[in-house]
């Protein structure tokens, strides 16, 4: 079966990169040295009722070029305003995570989440937010096609092991990767039982570092096909110029409520 998968993973044509190369470039294209941004996450249920989460975030890429330190401050709703969240990623192990709850005045170390768990009640999983390293999945180019006027590779990705399949909760992913910049345009997710689970579309992207060929999705929308619930994530006020120091990712800043 592995031999079959390897054969399928061969490039579709001599000029084209392999599926793995494409997904590796897709993985690194959003690895930005440092960034400040604000985001609005709108959760909509199957009846059209909406809930809005607003956050302000700072991130700093670590020297390995893979992991980041991320500080998120919740601005809305009022119930969670001032809550701080600090994550130190470890691609080869469990992340270190802390939360500051203004009502309790405490910084609390969190237990690492399962990758398939919902991210703050949204339709994104933790595994969707922190995209796994490329060899977590085995990739195959299915075809090339234009999607909304943009040339894309269509790549099928299956978990590299049964454990990964269980951890991430996906049996298969199909990604439409833009040929112009390696950013995904659409991803379809199947659950471990082979049923359609979610669809994510990335309609708006922006180049934040022309020299380093780094891009960022200004808008991502995920729809859960099984529940009818959807999440729209919009980023604003991106700043990749302002320096961000290591000392920012400490309890000192975590405890500041504004």
């Amino acid at each position: 079966m592995l031999i079959g998968a390897a054969a399928l993973a061969a490039p579709a044509s001599a000029e084209e990169p392999s599926a793995r190369d494409i997904m590796e470039k897709n993985f690194y294209v959003t690895k930005i040295k440092h960034m400040l941004n604000e985001s609005t996450m709108t959760l909509t249920n199957d009846k059209g009722q909406q809930r809005v989460r607003k956050t302000r975030s700072v991130s700093l890429l670590q020297p390995n070029g893979i992991d980041s330190k991320i500080m998120i401050r919740f601005l809305q709703p009022g119930d969670v305003e001032g809550t701080g969240y600090l994550q130190v990623q470890h691609y080869d192990g469990e992340d270190d995570m802390w939360i500051y709850l203004p009502a309790l005045k405490k910084v609390r170390r969190l237990v690492a989440n399962n990758k398939k768990d919902s991210f703050v009640g949204s339709d994104f999983s933790y595994g969707d937010i922190l995209v796994p390293v490329v060899d977590t999945y085995q990739h195959v180019i299915l075809k090339s096609e234009a999607l909304d006027g943009e040339d894309c590779w269509v790549i099928e990705s299956v978990p590299a092991s049964e454990q990964i399949r269980k951890d991430y909760g996906y049996g298969k992913k199909t990604s439409w990767i833009r040929k112009s910049n390696f950013m995904e345009k659409k991803v379809e997710f199947m659950d471990t039982g082979g049923r359609p689970l979610k669809t994510m579309v990335v309609p708006e992207i922006v180049e934040v570092d022309a020299a380093g060929h780094k891009w960022w999705a200004l808008k991502r929308e995920v729809k859960n096909l099984q529940t009818g619930h959807s999440t729209l994530l919009i980023f604003e006020n991106l700043d990749t110029k302002k320096p961000v120091g290591e000392d920012f990712f400490t309890t000192r800043y975590l405890e500041r409520e504004k």
Partner: protein, 452 residues
């Protein structure tokens, strides 16, 4: 002082409780419909209109960091052991967090509450916190009335002895909201993952405990809040948060926020606060998908020999716990604790009934009834519907006297602004135990909260 748990008119209580519960349940059920209609965020998704620039009012609200909440609640019993039943309450808790620039910011938060609208005398206004932060290089200074929380364990915190709590507060989130600030100067020095905190508490502020004098008796309290040197507190803590292991060591020298009582006349009991030294430590570490936490303290008191019944004995108190996400929506937290009383004396053996009653009351509130006290605490929390519906079961069981506190509760976020809570506080056990003593504080509660 003799402490008697008086019998109440349960028929009347039941009738009032039932009526109020039905009324509140009706409000809770009816409101979401109104709220959905009133809140445009709950209308079916339509294309958003172009964003308008923020108004001057919005800009000011944002600049001052204004926020807070209003809550309306119903409790079937008070938490003052005063036999009051069926309490509809209303609370307004505004706050402001103005930012002055990179050098500092401030916070002020008030609670204006009437926890029994049927009784004119329960209105209370209180500043919970009011402080300014100054940021210099590696040092932060916080000056003013502030809440200082110590300890990495969950709810049972042997090192959390600096600032007081109001144990009579009626709130579905009482664990968070019962804390009250104390005037303090706190300096934090930061170096990498380490923080050194030095704290001066010039004006003492005691906890409010659930105690009401029976008819014919009087309880007074020397709150020791004059700011004299003998009333001031000093504390220091070295904390490491980072990497894969968090820990701290801490020290406090000052007055005990929990009072002890002594009888001045046969019908008058005075509560007072004695000096303590607390040396403590805590840690938190993840072992795989399990979070392990521990916290312990040695508290040295003014009665090291255990001969003075009006003063708490020295003790060692520690907690060890673990929490785990069983599934995506279900978290379980379990803790075990042990408290060892040094030079323990059995107050139940005192012959004089008046002296014995005071001494027993002291050891109940100080939790020094037995030489070695052990128990368990647990919290099971489940979330559904994209975290909008939550159910929680919280409990503490004291093994020595088999007394317990249990709180099953549910909450639902109707919208981002409106949230409802319902639950039941159950205190139970022998009369000569903490939760047995608090048995009359058992109450059904319902609360509707709007955050702004």
């Amino acid at each position: 002082m003799s402490v008697e748990l008086r019998t109440a008119d349960f028929t009347l209580i039941t009738r009032y409780s039932s009526l109020a519960a039905i009324a509140l349940a009706a409000i809770l059920l009816a409101l979401p419909t109104c709220l959905f209609a009133a809140d445009p965020s709950l209308e079916p998704a339509t294309p958003a209109p172009p964003e308008e620039p923020p108004s001057a009012t919005t800009a000011w609200i944002d600049k001052l960091g204004l926020g807070g909440f209003v809550r309306s609640d119903y409790y079937s019993a008070s938490k003052r052991l005063d036999d009051q039943r069926s309490l509809p309450g209303l609370t307004f808790q505004p706050k402001a967090l103005p930012k002055f620039g990179s050098w500092g910011d401030a916070k002020i938060e008030w609670r204006i509450t009437d926890d029994n609208l049927r009784n004119d005398s329960r209105f209370q206004g209180r500043m919970l916190e009011g402080y300014t932060n100054f940021y210099f290089g590696n040092v932060d200074l916080r000056v003013g009335k502030q809440i200082i929380t110590w300890g990495r364990a969950d709810a049972l915190n042997p090192t959390d002895v600096l600032t007081p709590k109001d144990f009579t507060l009626l709130s579905a989130r009482d664990e968070e909201e019962r804390r009250i600030g104390t005037a303090a100067l706190k300096a934090n020095y930061y170096r990498g993952d380490y923080t050194l905190s030095l704290i001066w508490l010039p004006i003492f502020n005691p906890s409010t405990i659930p105690l009401t004098a029976p008819p014919g008796f009087q309880i007074t309290e020397d709150k020791r809040s004059q700011g004299r040197w003998t009333e001031q507190g000093f504390a220091a803590k070295l904390d490491h948060t980072g990497g894969d292991f968090d820990w701290s060591v801490s020290y406090y020298y000052g007055l005990d926020v929990i009072p002890t009582g002594h009888s001045t006349t046969p019908t008058l009991t005075e509560l007072t606060h004695n000096r303590i030294h607390m040396v403590g430590a805590d840690f938190a570490k993840n072992l795989g998908r399990f979070g392990v936490r521990g916290e312990g303290a040695y508290v040295h008191t003014q009665d090291p020999d255990g001969t003075n019944i009006d003063v708490k004995n020295p003790y060692v108190y520690y907690v060890l716990g673990v929490d785990h996400d069983v599934t995506e929506d279900l978290n379980i937290n379990l803790q075990a604790y042990q408290r060892f009383i040094i030079n323990y004396q059995d107050m139940f053996k005192i012959q004089d009934p008046a002296v014995r009653n005071i001494a027993v009351l002291n050891v109940i509130f100080q939790q020094q009834m037995d030489r070695i006290q052990e128990g368990l605490s647990g919290r099971i929390k489940a979330q559904w519907w994209n975290d909008t519906l939550e159910a929680e079961l919280l409990g503490v069981w004291n093994a020595n006297r088999s007394d317990f506190f249990v709180r099953p509760s549910v909450s639902y976020a109707f919208t981002d602004r409106w949230k409802g809570f319902m639950g039941w506080d159950v205190f139970n056990g022998r009369k000569e135990s903490l939760n047995g003593f608090l048995q009359n504080n058992s109450a059904f509660f319902a609360e509707l909260r709007a955050t702004f």
